[in-house]
Symmetry: C2
Subunit: 373 residues, 2 copies
DNA sequence: ACAATAAGCTCTGAGCAAGAGCAAAAGAAG
DNA sequence: CTTCTTTTGCTCTTGCTCAGAGCTTATTGT
């Protein structure tokens, strides 16, 4: 209905447990309007007022605003190359229920059935409280919600068939959604422009400006793995050459170690990192080479995009933990001098593997909020 | 005051001469609300209704909405390394008056005096009708409106002293503003995500998503010239290595031709292009090499940012006119396969050298509009 | 001249928002 | 314990905006 109601819900969603008085100040409304808003939203079963937190200060104690226990929920779905997971998430980001399973690289119809089964289960439990759906997938999602996931062999798949019952449906790339989540509830909440990079099978990511991810024309922004920061002689399966992504993943480590290309690139890379942690050669050298390539590329992106924080997820977080000095040195060496004084920090992602599904829930809530109030 | 008034002004600004009925449809309001809005904004001397355009169709003729001839104006200021220019721009983007001059690389205080003099001149002419100021400068502008222009030797300059009299003041990098202008009134009006690149002294640019430029944390986004798409052996004055920007400008041509570094890189490059146009060697080879580097880098940016249109300004437009095939071939070769089917077009910027000041006027108007209605 | 069509004008009622004034609940001071 | 101060919440009034219905105006087509 009204703008103010949506804004209030957004404030409560961002920081559940905010005091009523603080929320009014954030919205810039008087106590009168706050009363009206809170009353209306309580009657609509969207909010409840909790007991006051004893502040110790003078004055009439205020109450805290919390999501209503019987309020609306969003379905958050995360599909990876191996697994799927469905959560029912309430206002404020708390997960109320979850179902998960493995599909181990099955064809899309099988995955869809499994996910729809799980959604059906949650629907029996929660019924019409489920109001929106957000889906995270490992591939590019066009603006009309069609998925292309090259690695999984899913092509031109209509994602809306996953859940035809909610009238709000959003979907996005897993790395993009993880970036959104990091900037709203993770390590990048204070950054005005955050760059999130996630190395898993390939390198993806996103720039998030003021909580809004830069999504690209076809939803394919953030494919930083296919910027030519690498060796121009190496041809990437994507069709281009010199792609950065294939110079910093498990395949790159295998090439450097003269080993055959591993099937599961991610766990192979973790094994190499474990060897390197014991200072084993030639693993340590290979890891250092990859780390330097990673740091140099991050510097290029920071130069071009002017992020003030970089978060690393997936294998990137492992690399950062293993060889921070190598990454840092190559990073600083690649920065423009205007960024050298205070280089934007590189930190591990706070949400880890939960990032993509958390981002899906965030986007679903963002789309749902204007329709509630 | 109200949201709707601002929206109507924004519609008229975007397309001056829009019919009143179309504007109402765009805003999604009925004819009643339209009457009220137009009446109010006419009384406030913001709009006038012009004579109907004879449509030929049946029905009562409508009127067109035009900026009021005595309405508010914004000051648009463009400062380059050599020149300055001040325009008074009315709603809709038409320039009402202009003053310009050369400073030929003077220190900042001299440039500031010259610009302030010109602004004073316009102020005597237009008085309080000047309501906002937008400034384009060749360097990075921090969020607190301080300028660092390495090339010109202007460091940590407070731009707000240029015009302390208007209460709306915005400033930005020239390439970023040119990108904004291209996406609002230039070659990229239909693109949802446009990438604008401008080669002048160095390579700058911006991504514009739905008319909003991605500005970066410190206002330094768009320094794509300092992404490491070039030869890692070449050290850039910026401090990093392998910078793309110094591989596609006049300096790069001079290196390839074994000539000394030119003072005015831009006009030198144009001379080389003129020779190449007569198929003179070795100029043609050098131009082709630079064009290939340009095309390959553009492909990398399109991969990573998923733009659906690329506009080239400055020397980039000249290169595109001179050797489109070389740029196109390297571009397509560097694209990911998902972009190959319909590669985002590369087109010359429509606004040319007028881009930066037009962008400054756009940003000033965008900031002013919510305060008017 | 009359019908058809498109657009503008006026009036009314609903809903939202801002502000003033008052009431309530706590700590601080005597 | 009483009274004052501070902060917050509640209620009521007022003004504004907006949507919709019904009517008027201006043009084209027959």
């Amino acid at each position: 209905m009204t703008t103010r109601s949506t804004e209030l819900l957004r404030v409560v969603h961002r920081s559940p447990g905010v005091t009523r008085a603080d929320a009014a100040r954030l919205l810039g409304v008087g106590t009168g309007a706050a009363t009206e808003l809170v009353t209306k939203l309580s009657r609509a079963e969207l909010l409840i007022q909790g007991p006051a937190a004893p502040s110790g200060a003078r004055g009439r104690p205020t109450t805290v605003l919390l999501p209503h226990p019987d309020g609306p929920l969003v379905l958050a779905v995360a599909i990876t190359h191996e697994t799927w997971r469905v959560e029912a998430v309430q206002l404020g980001g708390t997960c109320a229920a979850e179902v998960e399973g493995r599909h181990a690289g099955a064809a899309w119809p099988q995955v869809r059935s499994a996910v729809r089964g799980a959604i059906g289960e949650l629907r029996r439990q929660y019924g019409p409280r489920l109001r929106a759906t957000g889906v995270s997938v490992p591939g590019t999602v066009s603006r009309d919600l069609r998925l292309d996931a090259v690695g999984a062999g899913w092509h031109d798949v209509d994602l809306t068939t996953l859940c035809p019952d909610t009238d709000v449906f959003v979907a996005g790339n897993d790395a993009t959604l993880a970036a959104t989540a990091e900037s709203r509830r993770g390590a990048a909440t204070d950054a005005s422009v955050a760059l999130h990079l996630r190395i898993e099978s390939g390198l993806g990511g996103a720039v998030v400006e003021d909580g809004r991810p830069v999504i690209g024309a076809r939803g394919a922004a953030g494919e930083f793995g296919h910027m030519p920061f690498g060796d121009p002689a190496v041809r990437c399966p994507c069709g281009a050459r010199g792609c950065w992504g294939i110079a910093v993943d498990g395949q790159a480590l295998a090439r450097l170690l003269d080993e055959p290309a591993p099937l599961d690139s991610f766990s192979y890379a973790r094994r190499v990192l474990a060897s390197a942690a014991r200072s084993a050669e030639p693993e340590l050298s290979a890891v250092r080479t990859v780390a330097a390539t990673l740091g140099r590329g991050i510097a290029g992106l920071v130069n071009g995009l002017d992020a003030d924080l970089v978060t690393l997820g997936g294998l990137g977080a492992d690399l950062l933990a293993a060889v921070p000095a190598e990454i840092g040195a190559a990073y600083r060496d690649g920065l423009m001098s205007i960024h050298r004084e205070s280089p934007p920090p590189i930190v591990p992602a706070a949400l880890g593997d939960h990032g993509p599904i958390a981002g899906a829930a965030e986007e679903a809530w963002s789309a749902l909020l204007p329709r509630l109030a």
